[in-house]
Amino acid sequence: MSIELISPLANTRSKLAGIIAQIEVVSGSEYPYQDSRTAVNELRSLIDRMMRRLDGFELYPPNVQKSLLRQGNYLIVIVTELLGFIVRSTSTRNLFELYYPFKEISKKFVGENVRLILSSDWQYSPFTYPYGLDELPTFILIGLPASESENALVFPTAGHELGHNRWRANEYGKALAPDLEESVYEAYEANRAEFERVFTLKGADIRNDMFVQPIIRQSVNLSLRQSEELYCDFTGLSLFGKSYLFAFDYLIAPGLSSHRDSKYPSLETRVSLLSKYAGELGFQVNGFAERFNAEKLAGAEASNFMVLMADRAVESITERLFQMAHSHVASTVGNPFSSESEAHALQCFTNGVPSERVHTLGDLMNAAWSVFNGPDLNQLNNKGQSKTQFLTDLVVKSAENLEYLSYRDAKH
């Protein structure tokens, strides 16, 4: 006996109705700021629009029908993921008070009209969605590790994620691609003998041979991804100073894996460059580079070769990437940290109180890390509170001043 399947249209409508029911539950959450609620409303609009598009389904030719159903499925997948992200942004472990000052930075650095959602996520590494998502085009979505969501000391890693958003918003990849491509060609030409051995393409014209182009393309794509990561590291460094190094060390040292992810520069390269440019910005963190293990490339010989060629290409624009990041921060955010301001915050934190002055987040983070790394080694106070928890409260209360005073100043 054969059984008829339910129509795919009915399935899709049912699945979309399920998402709508989920959105209605999520809409009832307590949101710490408006942008999360706006995102939920925008996602709801997308689903409603898809539902309307299905109204004339029977009138479409079969290929259009299938395309519509596929789009429906895709929308359900992405909206579900984004809803989960937004729900996690309401966790009361998150540091909501840091939202306002960080949004001010985001508006200056990425664009005045951006919206921001800071969330925690159940993956250990900080991450951001690519800026300009079709579903939420003006949103910056940054997730910090859920286990560290109550720890202000790791917040500087959000600076790295902000770099990704500026990179995408301004299409720096497109602007750098020609130079990186040329550097990749040069790297292959300089390593021709090894290239010919690994790929058994003896005598191939590296710049014109159709069999070589996909190999070159791989290296170019990897070099673009690696360049973006370095730009983001430099952005974090320029925004937060030495606290970016401390947060980087705290989260990652000695390494997250024994094998290297080829989309990133090697850990050795990243920490070496961070040390170098920290020195150019006027500070050093002793022994920073030595705290990290070397990583191995895990792929086949051919893919490892492509990664190494990408590495060579990226080396050629490292200085340019740092200058880009640093000048972007300087021209948009201004001076994100100063030793005088940090010294005052440090004095307050050392006395166990928040600072009453208005500081940048960079100053507050740098001061907090100085206390954390300082000689007072008691990790718990008499209330069973860790030094991290207490320093977080001091940083957050100090940052709250900025928001409070903005309301007060608006009236005066």
């Binding site: 307590e30 949101y31 710490p32 700021y33 408006q34 009361t92 909501f96 008070e97 005052h344 004095q347 307050c348 050392t350 006395n351 166990g352 109180v353 928040p354 600072s355 009453e356 007072d376 008691n378 106070n381 008499n382 209330k383 069973g384 509170q385 030094k387 928890q389 207490f390 320093l391 409260d393 957050v396 209360k397 100090s398 709250e400 001043n401 928001e403 409070y404 005073l405 309301y407 007060r408």
Partner: protein, 217 residues
């Protein structure tokens, strides 16, 4: 009692001219003179609220020690209310809140908080334990209760209580100070840890023995 001129004189100055002084952040003497009375300073309501989850809490037993972190995680619930948004407190309901300001007291100054009469007349009680000991540091936990007959909308950032300061005769010793270490204090309201004192523990032990003997007999 210290008048507010004296409180201002006793404020901590990080330029070294007044160390171990009173700290209020944000400082109303710099930012908002309307908070300054003759003998009291108004403090504002913070954005964090903590409630008990009634469906999970059958009784609070003061004969049983309570660890604050475990208790908050298992039976508490936190809310963050943004500026400009209300928290609605219904008649007969109790919630912990905290002051927006962070207060730190030196070892020879104590304080107590009191409600504001305009709010009290509408049924809002803001504290059950008013005293603040020398050496205290943190946002002050407020115990909000609506003893009125209609729901009240309260707003983070609104002046919600007043703080009076007292000079303590002779500085409190370090052992007796609330400041066990420099790093003590918090920004969110706290349920607090609890332990029966020695006398109560002894009474409970005796009662337990008596009950055990009764069951066996």
């Amino acid at each position: 009692m210290l008048n507010t001129d004296e409180v201002k004189r006793r404020l901590h100055r990080f330029d070294g001219t007044q160390s171990d002084g009173i700290v209020i952040v944000p400082n109303p003497f710099e930012h908002d003179a309307t908070q300054i009375g003759r003998t009291s300073i108004d403090l504002r309501l913070g954005r964090w609220f903590s409630m008990l989850q009634q469906t999970k809490t059958s009784a609070i037993d003061f004969g049983v020690p309570r660890n604050e972190n475990a208790f908050s995680a298992s039976e508490g619930r936190s809310s963050f209310v943004p500026f400009g948004h209300p928290f609605v407190l219904h008649p007969g309901r109790f919630v912990l809140a905290s002051t927006f300001e962070w207060l730190s007291l030196p070892n020879d100054v104590a304080a107590y908080i009191s409600g504001k009469s305009a709010l009290g007349r509408m049924g809002l009680i803001i504290e059950t334990a008013a005293g603040i000991h020398p050496g205290f540091s943190g946002s002050i936990t407020l115990e909000l209760f609506n003893c009125g007959e209609v729901p009240i909308r309260i707003y983070p950032g609104m002046p919600v209580c007043q703080l009076f300061f007292h000079q303590v005769d002779g500085a409190v010793s370090k052992e007796n100070s609330a400041k066990g270490t420099k790093f003590g204090g918090r920004r969110k309201p706290a349920f607090g840890s609890y332990k029966p004192d020695d006398a109560l523990s002894s009474m409970l032990d005796v009662a337990a023995i008596d009950q055990d003997l009764f069951r066996r007999s």
